[in-house]
Amino acid sequence: MTAVIETRNLSKWYGNVLGLSDVSLGIEPGITGLLGPNGAGKSTFMKLLTGQLKPNIGSVSILGRRIWNHFDAFAKIGFCPESDAFYEEISGWEFLTGLLSFYGFSKAEIRARAEKALDIVNLTGDKDRKIRGYSRGMRQRIKFAQAIGHDPEIIILDEPLSGLDPLGKRKLIHLIKDYRDQGRTILVSSHVLPEIEAMTSRIILIHQGKILAQGDIHYVRDLIETHPHVISIKCGDARGLAAKFVNEPYVLKIHFGPDGDSLVVETHKRDAFFGRLNQVVLESALRVEEITSPDDNLQAVFDYLVGK
């Protein structure tokens, strides 16, 4: 699949403060999560992608064309920023139609698109209220509406779920997945890792201006050799189970959980381990309560790669 967004040796700094250093990657259609600690360069990266900043070195190309100063390309991108910078005195409707007018649509089309966008985010009833009277969740939704109003192929979202209650989050995630199913390219940045996990397993991890990891989270986890895989098993006879693995060379560590009926195993060779585990379960008719991989998730990958 060809990359929709492509960066080559992308670097940006502010005076002598580093923003981004030598980033070359491609983002394909679908949902990609963007994560990193504060100050890592995420906002710089997003601003470069949306053409708000000019790279010091390198380039950003969208659908094959460089975007710096190519305003027509902006019509294909929708951006929902994290910050709340609104003109408080205008209504939601005015805000939305005002922004849509930049894309060169006819008046009728602007109206139609604005109505559709408001309907999608459920703000039709409040469209004539001044933004000053909007609650936090409503502001978030109107921001999202302006990001999708012009039907962009590429949608870039910075902390889109903040301020929404759990149902609002669920709706928005559903919406984002709909857009993915339509073939669009969506980049979502968030600090709340479980929320990214709910949307996608493809991530880009930035730290100190560099890309630490990119790809499917499970494959990324596989690549981290310094941390063997951790597998937790809850069963009726933890020690008995442990005894079956003590002699296996691919088991690096075994320790027992605090509750007494679980054991935690570390291994580099998951294939061998699981093969044997499945065998043992049947052989000993073990009453298995739970088998989980507690560190096969985004938080663990983040901790291992970024360090504490």
Binding site: L35, G36, P37, N38, S135, R136, G137, S162, L164, D165, P166, L167, G168, K169, R170, K171, H191, V192, L193, P194, E195, S201, R270, D271, F274, G275, L277, N278, Q279, V281, L282, A285, R287, V288, E289, E290, I291, T292, S293, L298, Q299, F302, D303, V306, K308
Partner: protein
Amino acid sequence: MSLEVRDLHFSYGKITALDGVNLKLEGGAAGLLGPNGAGKSTLLRILLGFLTPAKGDGKVLGYDIRHQRPLIRRSVGYMPEDDCFIAGLDAVSFTAYFGELSGMPRQEAMKRAHEVLFYVGLGEARYRLLDTYSAGMKQRLKLAQALVHDPKLLFLDEPTAGLDPHGRQEVLELIKDISSAKDIHVLISSHILADIETICSDVVILNKGKVAAQGKLQDLRSIDYSLFELKVMGNESLFRQELESLGCRVDETEDRILKVYMPAERDRLEIFRAASASGVQVRHFVKSRTSLEDLFARTVGVD
């Protein structure tokens, strides 16, 4: 009983915020959930002794919520959602100041401020001016001022808001540590369900000014029938066929999780047998529970 309220009512002018709230909470950590506008902040304010309810009564830590509000405020720590600090002060002065206002003698407040700042991870930065603090540090500072007077009840409003993944992790661990000290009760209001699942043993769901659900998280989420979540490596379709021939129903969700509904008379070992027969490895095996999100959606009714 650390907290008990009966039939609380409160309105801001014409807007009804609380419409008959009954609540009983004991020790440990409880999560307070609800859509925006459900009345969470109002309930918190009444429990904090900020507001007097229009109708209804109750006790917080044994003190009456109408007549003993200052006494409640002595033993309660509040970590607000918004950013709040005092410009021109350093962390130690700030924390000690609020300790004093809670009634601590000056020297004790100072001593305790240092302790608490180390505890929340601001030890190195405690002499710096608050104006120089990052968002994550300000969040911890809020927690510090809530803890300085050693409250028996702690209200945390969106404690991980604005924190990066490390920050979230650390604050959640702090809260877990605090709530495991068995004599501090913690009430957390948050929209991040993953956080509530990690820390809380009880949950209260508010909707439209009433309590829509309340109870132990474990109980509210347990399902009576046998539903298992599996992840396997190998020939999935063959595996599914095997299971279906046993009378199980198999669904596949996002992220390649298989949901297996097993008839009551079957043993879970049969899943492993089926796996062996179709040459797949079972790599993830969990008895399913309702997700907190589904519980929330079901209780609040909308959608």
